[in-house]
Amino acid sequence: MENIICACGHSNPYGTKLCEKCGRPLTEEGKQTKVVDMRYDGMAIRSKTYNTTIVDKIWNFFSNVKVGIALIIITLVAASIGTILPQAIYVNVPEPSKAEYYEKVYGLLGKLYNNLGLSNLYSTWWFQILVGMLAISIIVASLDRGLPLHKSLKNQRVKRHESFMKRQRIVAEGQVPNPEETLDKVEQKMTDLKYRVRRDGSALLAERGRFARYGPYINHVGLIIFLAGVMLRLVPGFYVDETIWIREGETRAIPGMDGYFIKNNKFILETHDNKPQDEQSNQGVNAMAKNYQTDITLYKQPDGALPGDTDNLKKLRDYSIRVNHPLKENSFALYQMNYRLNELRQMNFKLVNKANEEESLGQIEIDLTNPKKEYDLGNGSSVQILVYTPDFSGFKDGEPQTQTSIPNNPAFIFKMTTPETPKGEVSFVEIRKPPFEPLGENKYRMKFTGVETRNSSNFTIRKDSTIPMLFVGGIIFMIGVVIGSYWNHRRLWLQVEPDGRVLMAAHVNKNMFSMKKDLDTVTTFAGLPPYEDQLDASEDVKKSTKEKEGDNNL
């Protein structure tokens, strides 16, 4: 690729539209138009310059604005498809029955939606690759355009060639009597108008709000920081989202928080004493929670203690976790998410003679969290527990089975020994069912007398160290948007030859009105010839403004 040598002798990189030094249009197209395209100040867009290796080809693909726009549209469409039906993580049914749920609630559409994986759209590989490609596009396109633009804006010459100036939208030509005085006056007025003024012999450049050109790039930086923050959630240690169920009286290690233990002392649910009325009874809401609280104790292992070693737990504090009052510790927060009331904790039975159930040989209290092998009733009678299944689900090979460790449906095999039956009688006792006596008719039975229950609380453990990063990214993004939208880059070029000939040109990347207002002030003050808006005058106003919309603030 050859460099382009301008008429002024400056060597420009291939692809340059306006000479970096004097501003002469370098392309045939540029030479023929009345008003030059000032996008990126005529610098060569880097990607357009080289296209040799595979890396360059990939680079150029992502640098293409059209590709970028296509990616934005595809991402938007995909993201909106994800909002048609609720995403699976927000569907409040247990994991295995989610597919069923979609079909039941949304019919065929739901089934299709779930089967296509749209119910987990935001964590699919293709959606993430799409967002990733958008990120590449943003970075590559910004580098390709932002760096040359920055270079060009930084190295602006005061003196530009006539052909550059005459192709600006605002142009003025004429004569002034006092060249030096005119330049001085323009400098003075433009400085008053908060322009930065530079002079080079007979030439003058006044410039204001150059930073507005950086708005879109700042905005992109914010976006990339934001995306990087979202990505960091996957890096271990940055983001924790765990859940835990704890029953009253239990102590559990907190998942995600190494070395911390939590004990549930009490769960409290208080409801308003209210009579359901109107809408409330229509919707079947009959209790309104007043308070929803778990009293906990937080413990920590001593430093260097091993997992499982709970001998020397150090009590950190007691706390009541309530709505809007999570437990906060060391950048983690524990929120109450759910509760379960009245889980069995203790069952009481009386040993009675079937012939006379009024008379009891004594009562046993079985702590379901720690059942004992044998309960001595003291009068020569005793009860042995042979088998305990917390969640009885049936027999297999003659053994009672349990499906979970939660006492939802406790069952026991008791061996009852009394002075009358010294060999013992065996009985299988399941809750709410008559006893089953596998070894023949018994004289005695275990009569169920009562239970004690306990509640459990469900917490989520959250930590999100990426929030400050998302916050910073968001703020930078907004700053970029504001800079790009509310400020504009105004420039005035002026050449007053010693013989009094004046050539003036002006450019603004948006909001021509503000520029014209400044121009009116300065031309009146310094007695400059009236200016002409070349786009206003020509017939193709609409066409050319339309073509330039969108991108010309870059």
């Binding site: 080289y50 890396v55 070693d309 088998v387 053994e399």
Partner: protein, 177 residues
């Protein structure tokens, strides 16, 4: 030419970093639900738990020997099915320097003792009352088995039921040389 080369290098680096970042994100999301805190080849986190006889068992006490570490619960069918086989292989390998340690997930002493008696288990059975160890090892589905070599490094992680031949081969794998 110099400039061109530099440009190519910079572009390649930028694209490579971005592609890696995307790859990491996709991979990370795909494996998020089944993330293994413990990786094969990494050091098995030390722990200490108490067995049914009140005796403490510390993983690092077994240094120099292979350890067959099994997480289970009584209500888990596959756990129950593989227990007799583990018990038999324990008998074969315990004198060859491979120990078995089985960790029950927070069940009552009664249930665990009953299970041990019923299956006549001879290896130490500890109960993870606070689920501290299973959290550290990120144990989700049961049974979960970790085979640990004499240096204390994880040689193998297996979730699901094991047949006797496999159990024997894994124990063989971590036998001290």
């Amino acid at each position: 030419m110099e400039k061109k080369k530099k440009r190519l290098v910079i572009r390649t680096i930028i694209l490579a970093v971005l592609v890696l970042a995307i790859g990491y994100t996709v991979y990370g999301t795909a494996t998020k639900d089944k993330v293994e805190l413990i990786a094969v080849g990494s050091k098995a986190p030390d722990f200490t738990l108490v067995d049914l006889n009140g005796e403490k068992h510390k993983l690092s006490d077994y240094k120099g020997q292979g350890v067959f570490l099994n997480f289970w619960a009584t209500f888990c069918g596959p756990c129950e099915r593989e227990m007799p086989a583990i018990n038999r292989q324990y008998q074969v390998f315990k004198d060859q320097g491979v120990q078995t340690l089985s960790v029950n997930l927070a069940q009552t002493d009664f249930e665990v003792q009953n299970f041990v008696d019923r299956h006549e288990l001879t290896f130490p059975v500890v109960i993870d009352k606070t689920k501290s160890v299973s959290t550290t090892y990120n144990v989700g589905n049961l049974p979960a088995t970790l085979v640990i070599d004499p240096d204390g490094k994880v040689a193998k992680i297996i979730t699901g039921e094991l047949e006797e031949g496999k159990i024997a081969s894994y124990m063989e794998l971590v036998k001290p040389k």
